[in-house]
């Protein structure tokens, strides 16, 4: 349970444009996210007690390590700053680290920045990203290949139709049209997905999230809140499993997601039925299908039927299911890996702040082929009792 005497408020956010941003450096993106987030929170920089910076690949693509210091340099008082790396779950784990620091009482207000610059790096993207897999035991694999193995297993066990994967990609592209920060803002059809080049059977190009540049930031605080419509993190959890796919108990679900979700639901004292909107880790179309089942939105093997009836789309949402990937997800919004987990929380903060349709949201961020997973639950709390800065 979340401690009775501590509430984690989200008090500011910023998401940069996601995409192939040739005119923006890693530092430019981190600077925009940091400074605009502080402005959004209506804070003075010295109000930030500490910084958590999520990033996976800057050392390889940009030959820039020491990102904690790079971001701390943006603030005149140089608060303590730590880089967090957990592959594609770097952002989610940074949020967890920030929440734990706040709940410990060490800090009152912290900045979490996720940033990644991937498109014009000096290294081969497939090789750099493969560092998130087991380098020797999974030699010769790719991430599409590892998720393709999960897809094959799910399709064999549950007779999951290929069309469900295509529908997920098409749905997320449809959602991305409304998101001004999204890398891809154009509709695609399920039929178009099935005509694209095969990457690793059964996954095709349009089943895969893109290589992206981007940054996102949120400010979390135990002592400050917006006077009305306070958005709070009411639960979070992190799960781990074997780095090697072949050492897992199952190829049709991610135990790390199940564990993270169980911990987050327990802390929030809520269940999957209370989630109105979820940003889940759809690095590949099959990943969203697995997430629906592992997060408890439906029984194992039942997600495909819900997807084919469009129950998770904004347009045809069913009461029984949350809207999934309102932002367009990783598929259409983009996947700058270190930024993704932070962007998910920032996006839900902005959505819940501006919409009356949703009051409780969930983020789901996965590292590698599922060795790490983070689930966070955010909720709009209508209150005028918050302590204004």
């Amino acid at each position: 349970m979340m401690p009775e005497n501590k509430k984690i408020h989200i008090v500011g956010s910023h998401i940069t444009q996601f995409g192939e941003l040739w005119d923006r450096s890693l530092e430019d993106l981190a600077y925009e996210a940091t400074t605009q987030c502080i402005t959004d929170a209506d804070l003075q920089p010295k109000g930030i007690d500490a910084i958590f910076v999520a990033n996976m690949t800057a050392s390889q693509f940009e030959t820039q390590a020491h990102l904690g210091a790079l971001v701390s340099d943006f603030l005149p008082h140089h608060p303590p700053s730590t880089r967090v790396e957990a592959a594609c779950a770097s952002g989610g784990v940074a949020i967890v680290q920030a929440c734990q620091a706040l709940l410990s009482g060490l800090y009152e207000t912290v900045l979490v920045v996720g940033v990644e610059k991937m498109t014009d790096g000096s290294a081969d993207a497939a090789t750099v990203l493969s560092a998130a897999a087991h380098q020797s035991a999974e030699y010769g694999s790719t991430f599409p290949g590892l998720y393709a193995l999960l897809a094959q297993a799910h399709m064999q066990k549950y007779k999951t139709p290929r069309s469900a994967l295509s529908m997920i990609a098409a749905k997320n592209h449809g959602h991305g049209i409304s998101n001004k920060k999204a890398q891809f803002r154009r509709a695609i059809t399920p039929e178009a997905v099935e005509k694209t080049m095969m990457v690793s059977e059964p996954l095709r190009v349009l089943d895969c999230s893109p290589i992206s540049d981007g940054a996102a930031a949120v400010i979390l605080s135990t002592t400050r809140s917006k006077m009305n419509n306070s958005i709070q993190i009411i639960g979070f959890g992190q799960g781990q499993d074997s780095l090697q796919l072949s050492k897992r108990k199952s190829l049709t679900s991610l135990q790390s997601t199940k564990d993270a979700a169980q911990n987050a639901y327990r802390m929030a004292n809520q269940g999957p039925e209370s989630i109105d909107v979820a940003e889940v880790h759809d690095c590949f179309s099959i990943a969203e299908l697995l997430a629906m089942e592992d997060l408890g939105f439906c029984e194992p093997g039942k997600a495909a039927a819900a997807v084919l009836k469009e129950k998770t789309s904004v347009a045809k949402n069913s009461v029984a299911f949350p809207v999934i990937n309102h932002s367009g997800g990783l598929k259409a919004c983009g996947h700058p890996v270190g930024a993704t987990g932070v962007k998910q929380v920032a996006y839900l903060y902005e959505l819940l702040s501006s919409s009356t349709n949703y009051s409780t949201g969930l983020t789901h961020n996965v590292g590698g082929s599922g060795a790490t997973a983070v689930v966070t639950i955010v909720q709009k709390v209508n209150s005028t009792k918050g302590t204004q800065q």
């Binding site: 010769g140 599409p144 690793s200 059977e201 796919l245």
Partner: protein, 95 residues
């Protein structure tokens, strides 16, 4: 692959050499890491071998199905070079 990496890795790989097993799951990769492009396309497999479950590449160009019986044999892990040792790893071939 650096010689020291190869020396360490080959100790693990050699323990599986010529072992027989069964395909648990397979995919056929068309897009592969740059170091393996000369083998593409190839299968990537989850195998049950000697009471363990491991991951390994298949013979280039050949598709596998769950249940196929295979044997682990040697393969070159990269293009032959005059500037470094010729390294060998494992691949699965159908029995």
């Amino acid at each position: 692959m650096k010689p020291a990496d190869y020396w360490r890795q080959s100790k693990k790989w050699s323990s599986y050499l010529f072992k027989e097993g069964v395909v648990v799951q397979s995919t056929f990769q068309y897009v592969v890491p740059s170091a393996q492009e000369h083998y593409a396309p190839y299968s990537f497999l989850v195998l049950s071998v000697a009471n363990e479950t491991i991951e390994v590449m298949g013979v280039p160009g050949e598709k596998f199905q769950a249940g196929d019986r295979v044997r682990l044999v040697l393969r070159r892990t990269a293009v032959i070079s005059t500037s470094e040792p010729i390294s060998y790893g494992l691949k699965a071939e159908k029995i």
